[in-house]
């Protein structure tokens, strides 16, 4: 077992899960107090700036999750261990959730500040395309086919999708800059002092939530696999454990 695998299995043990859950709840609580009460309103945006403490960490988790999908996809194709496929599946689901959350929170923030729900800003557009790419990834995962083949296909989509994102971003950025100047956007707020602390805690809290969701989803994935193995074991004449430990080969 590699270090990463050991870390993963300790996180997905019931005990690790509970510890993670409490850590996540605690961090989200601290983050809520810091961002809603302790941090000052922004000079330009007033209380609206508080949306930043959830929007930016949500975006971070989305990108983190898709980076994990990429790494797990490469690892799956190299090792053919189903645990990597489970990691990719779990991370993609959480990633899609947080990408959608990023877009929704961003829209809620944009409406009062920019006066519109949506603008064709490069970052917004890239995030929207990112969402569609990984919704496609999840669609591939739902194809009714044998698990090993589905895992391979998903891994290919996970790799190509991730490699594609920087090019998408570049193309959309150039595309935007050649249009008329964007409506005056309020610049990046000056984040320092207690605001910086609040944002930092937000990052930590959201990352813990991500890890907790991952742990839950990984356990569900393992249970799903066990159900399949137990259904198959009398027909194949092997104990379910033996079927599960077998690295799935196409």
């Amino acid at each position: 077992m590699s270090t990463a695998e050991r870390l993963m299995s300790s996180l997905t043990a019931r005990r690790g899960e509970r510890v993670l859950a409490w850590l996540a709840v605690g961090a989200v609580g601290v983050s809520a107090v810091l961002s809603l009460v302790a941090s000052p309103p922004d000079a330009e945006q007033g209380g609206l700036i508080r949306l930043m403490y959830v929007h930016v960490p949500a975006a971070w988790v989305a990108y983190l999750a898709f980076a994990v999908v990429f790494v797990a996809s490469v690892a799956y194709l190299r090792t053919r261990k189903t645990r990597w496929d489970r990691v990719a599946a779990a991370s993609a689901e959480v990633g899609v959730l947080f990408t959608a959350l990023t877009i929704v929170l961003g829209s809620i923030w944009a409406k009062p500040v920019w006066g519109t729900w949506w603008t064709w800003d490069p970052r917004l557009t890239t995030t929207a395309i990112l969402l569609v790419i990984y919704v496609g990834y999840l669609a591939v995962r739902r194809l009714p086919d044998n698990p090993a083949r589905r895992a391979r296909w998903a891994a290919v989509v996970g790799i190509v999708g991730f490699v594609d994102v920087p090019i998408v971003h570049l193309s959309v950025r150039w595309w935007r800059s050649l249009h008329q100047a964007p409506a005056r956007l309020i610049g990046v707020p000056d984040v320092s002092g207690s605001m910086g602390v609040a944002l930092g805690v937000g990052f930590i809290a959201f990352t813990l939530v991500y890890l907790y969701f991952m742990a839950l989803r990984l356990r569900v994935g393992r249970l799903e696999e066990r159900v399949v193995a137990e259904a198959l074991s009398p027909r194949i004449g092997q104990p379910a454990e033996a079927l599960m430990e077998e690295p799935a080969r196409g």
């Binding site: 194709l77 395309i129 569609v132 790419i133 919704v135 496609g136 669609a139 591939v140 194809l143 009714p144 086919d145 083949r149 391979r152 296909w153 891994a155 290919v156 989509v157 790799i159 190509v160 999708g161 490699v163 594609d164 090019i167 998408v168 570049l170 193309s171 959309v172 150039w174 595309w175 050649l178 196409g250």
Partner: protein
């Protein structure tokens, strides 16, 4: 037979199927024409608006047509277990991937030539300013579309996959082709064509990246 020779043989085979079956010429091309007419009708007869939107509509028609072209390229293999034989053949899988992409590049370029002609007539798009830039945009953009399509077309044609998966994967992944293709076309027709260089560079970069990533990955899609 070298890997290149194998890819060429597969491309030739696919083109022969097209020449004899006329699927692209007989079905996909009329479809692209229908799309252009529908776009025109939806935007109204205002000349300047049509002219302005023509590059975008042109590329949308190409994008949709390419989705259909790939369905066809792999559907033909689906009959009589031809795809299994192709995969079992003692050739490099990357040659299959590149060969199928190459055949579709040729088919799509022929289709695009006609579609551009239609756009000139229907939308009054001036294409005479910088034909080299325009041709470059179409060649580079088509290669990118074809490579992505060749990669996931194999996936879409596997038994029991859902039809809509293919466009759902290909269209967002090809965003850079759409954006850069439209911009380069715009600059080559109505804008200063000299500024199209960076867009052509972007298309080239996309082609290189997807070919480089797709070639080693294709084998995993068709492994069984």
């Amino acid at each position: 037979m070298s890997a290149l020779g194998q890819a060429l043989a597969i491309a030739k085979k696919d083109l022969r199927i097209e020449v004899r079956g006329r699927h692209v010429a007989g079905t996909i091309l009329p479809f692209a024409g229908t799309l252009l007419i529908a776009f025109g009708l939806s935007l109204g007869p205002g000349r300047s608006l049509l002219r302005q939107t023509a590059p975008g509509l042109l590329w949308l028609a190409v994008l949709f047509a390419s989705v259909l072209a790939f369905r066809q390229a792999y559907q033909a293999e689906g009959e009589d277990g031809a795809f299994e034989s192709l995969i079992l053949a003692p050739i490099d899988k990357a040659s299959v991937f590149l060969g199928k992409a190459a055949a579709v590049v040729v088919e799509l370029l022929a289709l695009e030539a006609v579609v551009v002609g239609l756009v000139v007539v229907l939308f009054d798009l001036p294409v005479g300013h910088a034909p080299v830039v325009l041709a470059g945009a179409f060649v580079l953009g088509t290669i990118g579309l074809a490579v992505v399509g060749s990669l996931f077309g194999a996936l879409a044609e596997m038994p029991r996959t859902r039809e809509a998966i293919f466009p759902l994967l290909v269209l967002p992944l090809c965003t850079p082709v759409l954006v850069a293709g439209v911009k380069a076309t715009e600059l080559a027709t109505t804008g200063p064509a000299g500024q199209a260089g960076s867009w052509l560079g972007l298309l080239l970069a996309f082609d290189v990246v997807v070919t480089g990533v797709g070639s080693p990955l294709f084998v995993y899609l068709v492994e069984d």
